[in-house]
């Protein structure tokens, strides 16, 4: 049981009548992962997190947290903490009193961690104020404090930085990073892609309730292939050469320059072909593919990285070089 992964979701489905909110999600979060759960609004991220926490009964599929089913017993949440959507508290009680209540509901030695949790999120000086008067950012921080009371091994956070100002987002990121560095496994849903790229080592990208990619960010980038920008003395001819060149794909014109993907060997052969065709290279530069590029490619395109508009320009789209799967 102790070797079971922190999160193991298989075939998770949630339907509300005709509407399918979550359509067969499979994902595994390993110990030590900082796992990003990405998807546009309405993609079913929150519904999935609620099912993971046992708040919603799935139509089909299973959730296991450290090998235990949260629907069977709340003991499955013993080493788990977090929040879905914005963390919520009793507005007529102070921040401290809210945490005291939650610590009592946690049992064990949660109460002993209360002061430290407040200190960690720097709410000690406002702890005696009623939560009704807290800002959104303060409630987010109180939500983190409430999660820390449980001394979790797995932290589930739904859009933890949403609604925070830039400094708050940075601080939240630093806190999550610190907790992860100390060995806590983190699963966070977000649509702040830069944040996820900085924090997470693995991601699941969900589109219309379905996972379109699950795995390491590095693998996703590798699978998308390197993207290059090309400028020559005769771009029209160069475009034809690129399209005909084996190993070169996704050829199009972006902001007046040719864009394509391909591995090192293909690019070397292309260089030679261009020279032989009389299109002399004036610029050939690799472009960094960001998680954002890949995200839009997967969630707005056809589900294959590299197929949707990197750069957003129209142009010919050759088949992708690699499949986006893990």
């Amino acid at each position: 049981m102790t070797d079971a992964p922190p999160v193991e979701v298989r075939g998770l489905v949630k339907r509300y009548g005709e509407l399918t909110a979550v359509a067969g999600v499979d994902l595994t979060v390993h110990a030590g992962d900082v796992y990003g759960y990405l998807g546009p609004n309405g993609a079913g991220k929150t519904t999935c997190l609620r099912m993971m926490l046992g708040l919603i009964r799935p139509t089909a599929g299973t959730v296991r947290l450290f090998g235990r089913d949260p629907l069977e017993t709340v003991h499955a949440l013993d080493d788990v903490a977090g929040f879905v959507e914005a963390p919520t508290f009793y507005p007529y009680m102070t921040g401290r009193r809210n945490l005291e209540l939650l610590a009592a509901f946690d049992g064990d030695d949660a109460r002993d961690r209360l002061d430290e949790a407040l200190e960690t999120v720097e709410l000690s000086d406002r702890a005696k104020d009623k939560v009704g008067g807290y800002s959104h950012g303060m409630r987010q921080r109180l939500g983190i404090a409430a999660a820390l009371l449980r001394n979790p091994k797995l932290l589930l956070l739904d859009e933890p930085a949403t609604g925070l100002d830039p400094a708050g987002m940075r601080d939240m990121r630093l806190l999550i990073q610190r907790l992860a560095d100390q060995g806590m496994t983190v699963l966070l849903s977000s649509h702040l892609l830069a944040e996820v790229e900085e924090l997470c080592n693995r991601v699941a990208i969900v589109r219309k309730g379905d996972i379109v990619y699950e795995g390491a960010i590095a693998d996703l980038k590798r699978s998308a292939g390197a993207t290059y920008r090309l400028s020559t003395t005769d771009d029209e001819r160069a475009l034809s050469v690129c399209r005909a060149q084996p190993g070169v794909s996704d050829v199009r014109v972006v902001h007046g320059r040719i864009s394509f993907t391909g591995d090192d060997a293909a690019v070397a052969e292309l260089s030679q072909a261009l020279v032989e065709a009389g299109a002399l290279i004036t610029m050939l530069a690799p472009q960094n593919v960001t998680l954002e590029d890949l995200f839009f490619s997967l969630t707005e395109g056809d589900g294959v990285p590299g197929h949707a508009g990197l750069g957003g320009a129209a142009g010919d789209r050759a088949p992708a070089a690699a499949e986006a799967s893990s």
């Binding site: 102790t2 519904t47 609620r50 926490l53 046992g54 708040l55 919603i56 009964r57 017993t73 709340v74 003991h75 949440l77 013993d78 080493d79 903490a81 977090g82 929040f83 879905v84 959507e85 914005a86 963390p87 919520t88 508290f89 009793y90 507005p91 007529y92 009680m93 009193r97 209540l101 939650l102 009592a104 509901f105 946690d106 049992g107 064990d108 961690r113 430290e116 960690t120 999120v121 720097e122 950012g137 921080r141 983190i144 409430a146 820390l148 449980r150 001394n151 091994k153 100002d165 400094a167 708050g168 601080d171 939240m172 630093l174 806190l175 610190r178 907790l179 100390q182 060995g183 806590m184």
Partner: protein, 296 residues
């Protein structure tokens, strides 16, 4: 916003609870905290304030009427002026119509719905308590509140009534006279029997609170159901249903004021109220256990 990048080292030290038994909270924890939460909410004092104020207002009204009319024309005037112990019994009689159902519904109808309103259900359901424990703790809290409200009304009525008419012996419904201490005992026993239909109102309030997820709808709905029973009781042609109506069970305590005590209405109140209350409570329990917490 200030930095939240303080150390979390201490929180992570100790590396969880693996390898040793965990001290788990139970129904008692929920019950204690629900009572504490009531202390922070205005509606708690609204209901309890009404429970205390009504007997005082009643005594003032009786005194005013007594002085003005010479104590003759009011239906209970002759009893009320002889012993203060009659005051709580008269209030029980009139309070059954809407006062006590309303006070009871204030908490029973709100106790789950307010969690939906505040969005806090997801917060408490992701701690270390099973749903049944949370339900039981909340149900006991709602019942406790109703008991406290009835006890306050009864006690204030006894004190205010005794100040007005004296702590004297009481005439039972059979015409016999019982001493003041015995009368006081009968008053509190009557309050106890009164709790049978009140517990049913609690169950109905909990059901509506769970199903509607809306405090106002649950509180008003509970009161409306209570009033509906009263209405059925006075409709011509439906008199045969009267012994089995919830509203009738509010009069069961009168069996205690007969010599010898008439247990039949009390026994009937117990099973009739169980017939209404247990399905309501059971449904509320199952709904709460199985519901999707998609909002709060």
């Amino acid at each position: 916003m200030s930095s939240i990048s303080g150390t979390a080292d201490g929180l992570r030290s100790g590396a969880g609870t693996a390898g040793r038994a965990r001290r788990r909270p139970g129904v008692g924890t929920v019950y204690r905290w629900e009572l504490r939460k009531l202390r922070y909410q205005k509606r708690t004092y609204l209901g309890l304030g009404a429970a205390a104020l009504v007997p005082i207002l009643f005594v003032v009204a009786v005194q005013f009427r007594h002085h003005r009319a010479g104590g003759g024309d009011f239906a209970f005037a002759s009893y009320l002026t002889k012993s203060g112990l009659v005051f709580p019994l008269v209030i029980l009689l009139f309070g059954a119509i809407w006062l006590f159902p309303l006070i009871t519904a204030l908490v029973a109808g709100d106790i789950f719905a307010s969690e939906d309103h505040n969005g806090t259900l997801k917060t408490v359901l992701t701690r270390s308590l099973e749903r049944w424990q949370i339900f039981t703790g909340k149900a006991l809290t709602a019942l406790t509140y109703a008991i406290v409200a009835i006890a306050i009304t009864g006690t204030v009525a006894v004190i205010a009534g005794s100040l007005e008419s004296g702590f004297n012996s009481v005439q039972t419904l059979s015409g016999t006279i019982v001493s003041a201490p015995k009368g006081l005992e009968l008053v509190y026993l009557s309050l106890l029997v009164y709790l049978i239909p009140i517990a049913t109102v609690v169950c109905i309030g909990l059901l509506l609170s769970t199903i509607t997820r809306n405090s106002a709808a649950a509180v008003v709905g509970t009161l409306m159901i209570s009033l509906l029973f009263q209405l059925i009781g006075v409709l011509p042609g439906l008199s045969a249903t009267q012994p089995y109506l919830l509203s009738t069970q509010f009069n069961a305590w009168q069996g205690l004021l007969r010599q010898p005590i008439d247990w039949a209405p009390i026994v009937r109140a117990a099973w009739v109220c169980a017939l209404y209350g247990i399905p309501a409570l059971g449904t509320a329990f199952l709904v709460f256990l199985r519901r999707d917490v998609a909002g709060g």
